[in-house]
Symmetry: D2
Subunit: 348 residues, 4 copies
């Protein structure tokens, strides 16, 4: 079989458009052969706990799942009783991009708050953190934040810590949607635990897919008293991989060395390079701070249309004429330069 | 990195203990590199429809998902209204081994029927196919069967056709849990469509993992009028893979040639070989017909205990002292012979 | 307005066909007028706790709800985590007559056991009480029994105690569907607490409607550590009555004196009278023990058809030609005698 | 038994604090006695369809349920597939006051829109009516409005018609939460069908409790093609009353003559009287238009505290010092005058 696609083609649509890093494929191949106990009782998954603990502390425990929506829903359900609700930004992936999975499948009510930049603050949390003990109000129990955010911004360790302190003071728990946690840590040049365990985050959805795995995310419990039943929830929510060794081997390849960091740095650097390259092109305006691997920009609609015939990317806000350009671990300087040149060309 | 495990070790515990066939890994590697549209709009997933249609007919449409529990729950939910129920054998995987996912996550009531051999019949279906129009009774809407069954037996095309005709006559639809459909077709030496489309099955959960994929199953709609909303259900049930090209490429490797058939024949042949090898060992009784890749047997408890220290396999029925030995696509004659020798040794 | 119906007409179809006892209507009228805090913070609901505690002990707490299905689902959900399951007889109302509410609305898997007479035993419970800690199996957590049962039989205090001891020994909780608990207690001439609190039952669905209320049942927690979140579950399961004073006033009228007992004794006595009256009519066979207010009998199909034109009652088992005759608190000796005479006539 | 409460005491907390109108109690008493088929096959429920059709047109069909939360959730679920969502004001009762029932029990995602006055408009609907066909977005399917609103405002027939036309043009259906529809119709002096059927509303939750019933609301389908499965949904959502004759008899008493209108006019008139009485008291500001039976006002916090010791009412917005005073069908001129006098006194 020859590939059906042209491996030279890149896009700026999403870090999900990229494939897997070669080291990831190699780890999968090495984990192959012979028999391993199914459903997670294999040596790769056993070893995985140590790998996650080196990043997130001794108390951390990771449950590999298939995808990010599932990591989020299982995390949130493990932290809540039947009637409890989750406060999040109205730009949160759990609210906007998961097909209603938290409500439809998890039965979890989301209490959303508008934000200027995708980031919650203690003050913004307070808009929905009320009504405790009132049966008429779905009971707030968890604050969920994303880092890096769906708006390309990054919470600092201090900002996360302030949110956690505030939430805990109200009797709330904190969940972090870390589908791009690696990008956030790389952007700030801090260890991942500075943005999670050390800041007080209780449960983390850790993202592997966007940063170079074939598939695979993990629910990582950082505060053991904050979550329960994940073994069972993972199964009943249809996320227990039978041949789990292959998920775990990918995570080990990503996290035991610095592959995660190299990949994240590359994606972030390409984001910065792209922003710098277009900033001076007349007719383009970089519309949001470029803090990780996403660049948001406005440019004329006809230009967008022409450009989209040459490169894949998404219009983010139709009304504002705003587009999103996302860089990946496999985006190269040449890819960025060619794209920037095309933008300049179309605007000339 | 060197592998953490010994690739020479085999077990008789489950076809999920096996890894992936080398051709599957090769297909994943070939699908890698460059960017492909995420969430299923890639060239591999596009090509997949033709692959499935060659097996299941022009009207077939496949939706790749991560695992078998999900394929079942999405299939069943796509066939039912909110209040409709599913008739199945009380040995069905959806009832016994999915952590309650159909009820807990799908909100689907199962109406279970005891069977002697894991196989439903029109008569057995009638035990639960009643009460139509009575709001007090969860409304039967789907009959779900497994082929090969959880008891190692196989439905013939005529048996499936009789069930479908009976079900359709009652206004019911038919779902087939085909996590081992390949084994059933290979055992009967019939094309898969003889057991599905041609027999009248409406929706199929097609199993890829147990027959040599890393991960991946598919909801395959054979009767387009029988199911709705699978695009949305797959997303809200958290089963939409972002890098779907890798699932689809595996399916193509499995199904475009005869890899599926070779793998299934090998597993089945090893099941027969094992049954033949132990049948004359005093103290072992093969307790069920060996029709696919599973061998059920009874033998003394202390022997089971000693054997399980040498080879992994499951006790199936503690009370009866019955064990299950499952063969895989990668089980070799040498594996079987060594195991049979060990059984003989322990019983000597 | 004159009544649309003939208040002289009675049936033997169900104790739900009866209206309300006059004392119940009087209590509703007395609770009317002026304003009372909605949603349960009224003086009638406050007083209700004492009323229930006199029957069920100091530790008991009652939550009025609208109907029996809801009392059951809220009880069961309050006793289980998201992934936990309930063991019940396959004749249980929660399995056969609630439109799938436990699964569809509650997301609760039922593990059903066939019984000869609608009654579970420790041995029967063991058929489904296994697999603890195995994520593939929905985790058994509650045993649910009905008293009196859907087959007209009654558990004795010793039988309930044996079930509770066995269940608790396995780490399971016990729920009692007491939609006809009053009938059971009256039949055995024991206080209701002998069949509940004293026998070890953890949570009770207490039935008011069938024994003479307009509407209203209650979740009664007998073991405070066995249930949680009922205040919230009642609201999110849509069972929080705004004008709750009217439910509570009915319960008080029923339970503060002996109205419940008089009503139950009358219904039971009429069941016995009916059984006695038909036992010697050739062609009728009383098919099950008559222990409360239900009489099951077999008689020729054409006779059933003719009788059903004169009196409303249900065919219970079409195949066996078995019918169910249910007596109510308002069934009189004259009603029974007229019915028995009609049966004799049709069989003559 | 003497009443436990003082029937002379009134409040301004909620129209749920009132009891039942005497005509309602009389209807219940008349429907009592003898046997009627349970679960809705009684003569009162049969007659009810004609009653509702006189108000809402020949095509209307009503399903009585116990309470308003249930009427809403059943309505919305009957209009949506598993993955479809509902657009509503962020002040909607379904979002703010139902303990998360739509999401937790119904599995329905709400897409909320801020409004100045509790009223949606075509423009406001458009903020969430997008993403059709995108599996990542919970699919908008229903627009739900309340009339009168939770802010005391009233939609005119033209406003409802504009919303319906806009929604239908987008392929959306319209649900009306009519827990106070009677108040809205009375306020505008139009028949209820002008605000519902004639304006294009598809499904209505009709409120009986707040306007003088003991309990009881109804799902009323105005467009038969807009909803399905309500018979089954009502049962599985635990809202099928066994002795339904008593709910239906109340509705008949309310709706067959003009009791609903007299009650609504009285409540509205008392709202206007209260607003007029306090408007000139220095220190009170009527903070929202008084269009039905609710009065919103701001006044000093210490005054609120002192007043709440004398009369029950709710603080609506703690931050703004805004209170809500709700009038009922049984609020009298003397009640209003005494309350207004107390307000003046406390502010003097």
């Amino acid at each position: 079989m020859t590939p059906r696609h042209d491996p030279a083609l890149k896009s700026f649509a999403s870090d999900n458009y990229a494939g897997a890093h070669p080291d990831i494929l190699r780890a999968v191949a090495e984990a192959n052969g012979g028999h391993q106990t199914a459903y997670g009782d294999d040596v790769y998954t056993e070893a995985l706990q140590g790998v996650f603990q080196r990043h997130f502390g001794r108390q951390a425990h990771a449950w590999p799942v298939f995808n990010g929506t599932a990591a989020n829903v299982i995390s949130l359900r493990s932290m809540t009783a039947h009637w409890e609700a989750v406060i999040c930004a109205d730009s949160a992936h759990i609210h906007t991009d998961e097909g209603g999975a938290p409500e439809v499948t998890g039965g979890i009510k989301l209490l959303t708050v508008p934000t200027p930049d995708g980031k919650l603050t203690p003050e913004l949390i307070d808009r929905e953190a009320w009504g405790f003990g009132d049966v008429h109000r779905a009971q707030p129990r968890v604050v969920s934040i994303s880092n890096s955010t769906e708006r390309g911004t990054v919470y600092t360790p201090d900002e996360v810590a302030a949110i956690c302190a505030h939430a805990h003071g109200l009797g709330l728990l904190v969940h972090l949607d870390g589908s791009r946690l690696t990008n956030a840590a790389a952007a700030l040049d801090v260890p991942m635990r500075a943005l999670t365990t050390d800041a007080g985050v209780d449960v983390l959805s850790f993202g592997g897919t966007k940063i170079g795995m074939l598939y695979g995310e993990a629910v990582v419990v950082l505060n053991p008293s904050a979550a329960k039943g994940i073994d069972y929830l993972r199964k009943s929510f249809m996320q227990l991989s039978s041949k789990m060794r292959f998920v775990s081997a990918q995570f080990e390849a990503l996290l035991s060395g610095d592959l995660w960091l190299r990949n994240a740095r590359q994606a972030n650097a390409m984001g910065r390079r792209l922003a710098a390259a277009v900033r001076d092109i007349p007719g383009v305006e970089v519309s949001r701070p470029v803090q990780a691997n996403a660049v948001f920009a406005t440019l004329p609609r006809d230009v967008v249309e022409r450009l989209q015939k040459r490169f894949r990317f998404y219009t983010f806000d139709e009304a504002r004429g705003e587009v999103r350009w996302m860089c990946s671990f496999d985006t190269t300087e040449a890819d960025v330069d060619a794209f920037a040149a095309a933008i300049a060309e179309e605007l000339a």
